[in-house]
């Protein structure tokens, strides 16, 4: 069987399920690759459709100017801009869920139909959202200090991180006793 797009033999047989009737498509490897690149995967929202969903959501709620302003909003902890998230569909750190809460909540409701977790909770080692954020921020500052060769500052930050982590573990142990 020949490829439907060129003269090469068809080695890729695709059953397309997006139309009314299942459609069989026969392509060579090269044409199949091009075809698959064009056709987003079915099922759950991936990177592209998440970005699409966000764009759709924002179009209704925001004017271009507001959107531009929103895109520039950056998380103070990881530095990711809303534009980067919108474009890539991936968040930069756990704090983004707090920092971009008003933008993310409608999207989360859109995806899951809910905003409240009903599943399991960590039984031990539970860290507050504030302390999670603080640790990420301190670690980021420490990496920056290392990059700038400010080793004294980096070692101070390392001690602060260690104290915070150990302090929490201690508090947990006390609590469990």
């Amino acid at each position: 069987m020949k490829c439907q797009q060129c003269e090469k033999p068809a080695t890729f047989h695709i059953t397309e399920l997006t139309g009314e009737q299942p459609q069989e498509i026969h392509l060579c490897e090269g044409c199949a690759q091009k075809y698959l690149m064009q056709t987003p995967g079915t099922g759950m929202p991936g990177k592209a459709s998440l970005a699409g969903m966000l764009a759709q959501q924002l179009k209704v709620a925001d004017t271009a100017k507001e959107l531009e302003k929103l895109d520039e909003k950056c998380c103070p902890i990881c530095g990711i801009s809303f534009y980067e998230f919108r474009n890539q569909g991936r968040l930069g750190c756990p704090h983004d869920y707090v920092f971009f809460a008003s933008e993310l909540e409608p999207l989360i409701v859109n995806i899951h139909g809910d905003l409240l977790h009903k599943g399991k909770h960590p039984l031990t080692h539970k860290r507050s959202t504030e302390s999670q954020t603080k640790l990420i921020q301190l670690r980021r500052e420490m990496n920056e200090a290392i990059r700038l060769e400010q080793y004294e500052r980096a070692s101070e930050l390392r001690d602060t991180i260690r104290n915070l982590e150990e302090g929490e573990e201690q508090a947990e142990d006390d609590h469990s006793v």
Partner: protein, 360 residues
């Protein structure tokens, strides 16, 4: 523990066994949990030292949990391209982990039922796979592993939103429940579209063999939950668990219908597929999958009696590019792979035919 990938090559992994409930139609049941360590940014914003620190933190914790110390740990970024694809073909790592950059690794248990991916889209992805339809056992095992790790690691967790993940599509439970089904009769009878639409209505996703973005090859369809927030893990598991028997029943009825209506045509299609696999001198991976799908149905319907489902599953895996190169013991270009694949199929199937004749 180190693992010898060459030793894995000769073995059948968990999902290839063709064992477990309903294994004529259900290839495997899989559950994965996405987790992130609280004190690090998500992968996209991680620095090189962050990635190394995450990798080390998980590895150190694994060594502290007695139940998990026999896992084989591998640095995926240090493996050859063929070895990375080899692990993906066995479904032990995702395509994303194959293609990602920077420090990333995987820990696998010897029977290939459990794998832990480190620095994939999230810091940690725990995956449990069972042969056949066995979501209850898969959940029990993954929940236990998650609890064991959680006693040593602090996960990013939000009181209202649950487990926090890099992509909001996974937030909450971080859980994806998937069942891989072989549905050739629904494809032939053009009923698959109906199934597909009704699953979408109840928020279940249908994908091809290798997950998101991949097309259904060889009539394999992966059904999984789309929602991860607002329902408990058990509710999410049961949603998939409850719908699968209906699809199995639908596929069985489609097979009966084909047998009754057009047994000659069906037998012809299956025999021709088997004939090509036994005699081809050069054959692509895609054509092999397509033909093996027909032969698999033929075995299930009793139209082919010298093969077992486990043989077909093994051929599916062994004829994929990376497996073929591992079996051959060296790199092969596309043309080389196509003739090596045909040779492998001819040898394997003629041996089975001979074994069958000897038994008779």
């Amino acid at each position: 523990m180190n693992v010898d990938l060459n030793e894995l090559t000769g073995r059948a992994g968990e999902w290839m066994k063709g064992a477990g409930p309903q294994s004529d139609i259900v290839i495997s049941s899989r559950i994965r949990l996405a987790r992130n360590i609280a004190e690090f940014p998500f992968i996209r914003r991680c620095t090189t030292p962050d990635r190394a620190a995450i990798d080390k933190a998980v590895r150190d914790r694994l060594a502290e949990v007695p139940q998990l110390t026999d896992l084989a740990y591998m640095r995926v970024d240090e493996l050859s391209d063929v070895d990375r694809h080899f692990l993906a073909e066995r479904q032990l790592i995702s395509r994303e982990l194959v293609e990602a950059e920077g420090a990333r690794s995987v820990a696998i248990d010897p029977n290939e039922r459990l794998s832990l991916m480190i620095n994939e889209e999230d810091h940690l992805r725990i995956q449990v796979m069972k042969s056949g339809f066995d979501l209850v056992a898969a959940w029990e095992q993954i929940n236990e592993v998650d609890d064991l790790l959680e006693s040593k690691l602090t996960y990013a967790f939000h009181d209202k939103l649950g487990y926090l993940t890099a992509c909001p599509t996974n937030v909450g439970t971080g859980m994806r429940v998937s069942v891989m089904l072989h549905l050739p009769a629904l494809v032939i009878t053009q009923q698959i579209e109906k199934v597909f639409r009704s699953l979408q209505k109840i928020n279940l996703a249908v994908r091809g063999l290798y997950g998101e973005g991949s097309q259904a090859m060889g009539d394999f369809y992966q059904i999984s939950n789309q929602i991860t927030l607002g329902r408990s893990e058990i509710e999410l598991r049961d949603q998939v668990h409850d719908v699968v028997p209906m699809i199995i029943d639908y596929e069985r009825r489609a097979r009966d219908f084909l047998l009754k209506q057009n047994q000659q045509d069906l037998h012809d299609k299956i025999s021709r597929a088997y004939g090509i696999l036994r005699t081809a001198q050069t054959i692509s991976s895609e054509e092999t999958m397509h033909l093996l799908s027909s032969v698999r149905m033929g075995v299930n319907l009793g139209l082919i009696d010298d093969l077992l489902i486990a043989d077909i599953n093994k051929l599916f895996v062994d004829t994929q590019p990376a497996h073929l190169q591992k079996l051959r013991g060296g790199p092969l270009d596309t043309a080389g792979r196509n003739s090596e694949r045909a040779l492998y199929l001819r040898r394997y199937l003629s041996q089975k035919e001979k074994d069958g004749a000897d038994q008779n």
